[in-house]
């Protein structure tokens, strides 16, 4: 099968089971959301898929082959990329340099030692496009650590898109982004290539309903249910467990 297939995935931290027997598919073109209360194990699941964490048991396949033994950089090179829930940027580097790095690595120029890092017109044009798309052009040459938190979240997303992934996992991309700027995130998601597989972890339900065609609900490490946005918002279990709390 094409895309991502997860079977029987479990993760324990000592005695604490954070993921329990998760079955999950993310075919090309998917627009799925993963929702659930804080501490449900959403980020852990994302970290298992991208290889930041090793599962206690279970299987992860990509395009039919087992990728469970690959480390994070190798999975990234296969096209599985993720944004961090906690902004993880090169704080002292400029916004431009932050965006340049993933492009250079994607093009396997990371060991190029002679040409200046910013000397390729194609790369710089791509950087400029990303800057413009996320309305960051005016801040391009500032150290990213000096930007407002909301803008740092946008850089976080832009850096991950710069990898041109085939599977994109967004871990709470809009958390901390002022509502005046969430449209940049929605627009970016809507402009993604149609065959890209997208999984979005998000608490902002408006955003989830705008971009997701299917929603998976995770509670205490287990998948509670999966369905269309209409089914999920009508599901009494979900209303009680999750939506009920945040939507009054």
């Amino acid at each position: 099968m094409q895309g991502l297939e997860v079977r029987g995935l479990s993760k324990r931290f000592g005695g604490l089971t954070v993921s329990e027997n998760i079955d999950f598919d993310l075919p090309p073109g998917a627009r799925k959301a993963l929702i659930g209360p804080n501490g449900a194990g959403k980020s852990t699941f994302a970290n298992l898929v991208t290889g930041i964490l090793r599962p206690s048991s279970g299987e992860i396949r990509f395009d039919g082959s087992d990728i469970g033994g690959l480390d994070e950089p190798r999975r990234v090179k296969l096209g599985i990329a993720k944004t961090f829930q906690i902004t993880t940027l090169f704080r002292k580097l400029t916004v431009r340099e932050n965006l340049r790095l993933p492009i250079l690595e994607r093009e396997k120029r990371g060991y190029s030692m002679f040409a200046r890092a910013g000397s390729s017109p194609e790369t710089e044009a791509e950087v400029a496009d990303l800057l413009e798309q996320f309305e960051l052009t005016a801040f391009a040459d500032r150290p990213v650590g000096l930007l407002a938190y909301g803008q740092q979240r946008l850089v976080e997303m832009a850096m991950t898109l710069a990898l041109r992934p085939r599977v994109l996992i967004l871990d709470e991309p809009a958390a901390g982004v002022p509502s005046s700027e969430t449209h940049l995130i929605v627009n970016a998601i809507e402009r993604l290539p149609k065959d890209l597989a997208v999984l979005i972890i998000e608490h902002d339900m408006d955003l989830v309903f705008r971009v997701a065609r299917s929603i998976v609900v995770l509670v205490a490490g287990r998948i509670l249910t999966e369905g269309t946005p209409a089914q999920i918002s009508a599901d009494p279990k979900v209303r009680e467990l999750y939506l009920g709390k945040s939507h009054g």
Binding site: T50, I52, D71, E72, P73, V76, K77, A81, K82, F84, T88, L89, F90, R91, K92, L93, E97, R100, L101, P102, L104, E105, R106, R109, G110, Y111, S112, M113, F114, A115, R116, A117, M159, T160, L163
Partner: protein, 317 residues
Amino acid sequence: MKSWLTPFLVLALAGAAFLLFPYNLAFLTRILIMILLVLSLDLVLGFAGIATLGQAAMYGTGAYAAGLFAVHASGNPLAGLLVGAFAGAALALVSGLLLMRTRGLTLIMLTIAVASLCLEAANQLRGLTGGADGLRGIRMQPVLGLFPFDFAGQTGYWYALSVTVLVFAGLAVLTRSAFGLSLRGIHESPARMAAIGVSVYWRQVAAYTIGGGIAGIAGALAAQITQLVSLESYSFTISAEALIMLILGGAGRLYGAVIGTVIFMVVHHVAAANDPFNWLFVIGALVLFVVFLVPNGLVSLPLAVTRLWKGARHARA
């Protein structure tokens, strides 16, 4: 500032030093060799963020390799430099394969351990290295077949200066390249580097190997110019002083390595001449001054002063 102005000024200063201190050429040459070692540390620590107190391991290995090459194979200086560079890089590669799997305090302790092991090995292999007596009998041919090493140390100075300038220029290119940018990325966030598909481990092994090659060149130069290699070249003092010089000047900046080394060596020279027992106090005070007042190193002092000045004017207005 024009991009050629700084290198031009630095080179002019190096030329002026040659003219002004004709009887101190050995000391000036030692500064140049130390600059090379601190540059290697800057690449490893300042750019790639690899914490090390064992750069002397590669320096000493370069020195012994070049010394032995001169004694047993050929007195050709440039061939000897290559041998030193290769030896330093080889040791850095082999030890780096293990070292780069560790972080923080463990890494620092292991880098010290590698240098200590080298020191002990050189001490034990007396037949080869001369042990505590040092490796003697190094006879060098003229540089490029044209410039014989002279007693006043003029050739040594120009030779060391040329090598230092070439290495500096090479590092300037390297640190601006995609590879150099990725090293700064690792320094800032290894987690993000992994997330953009970089094997941080191999990238650090590569940086450590290149840094080892440069430290090896520094050691080789020392061996060729002083025509002696002693166990001292593996000493902890060398690694530690190189680190202090780098912090003084400003890690992660190539000119920081240059300025820090010059200031440390000159202060050391002058203070030790005036008071052989208490010169360390002067160095200590200087380090405290830098760490607390100009944490980015003396290389950033002009900028820091300008900011302070502007701030003061702002406050008055």
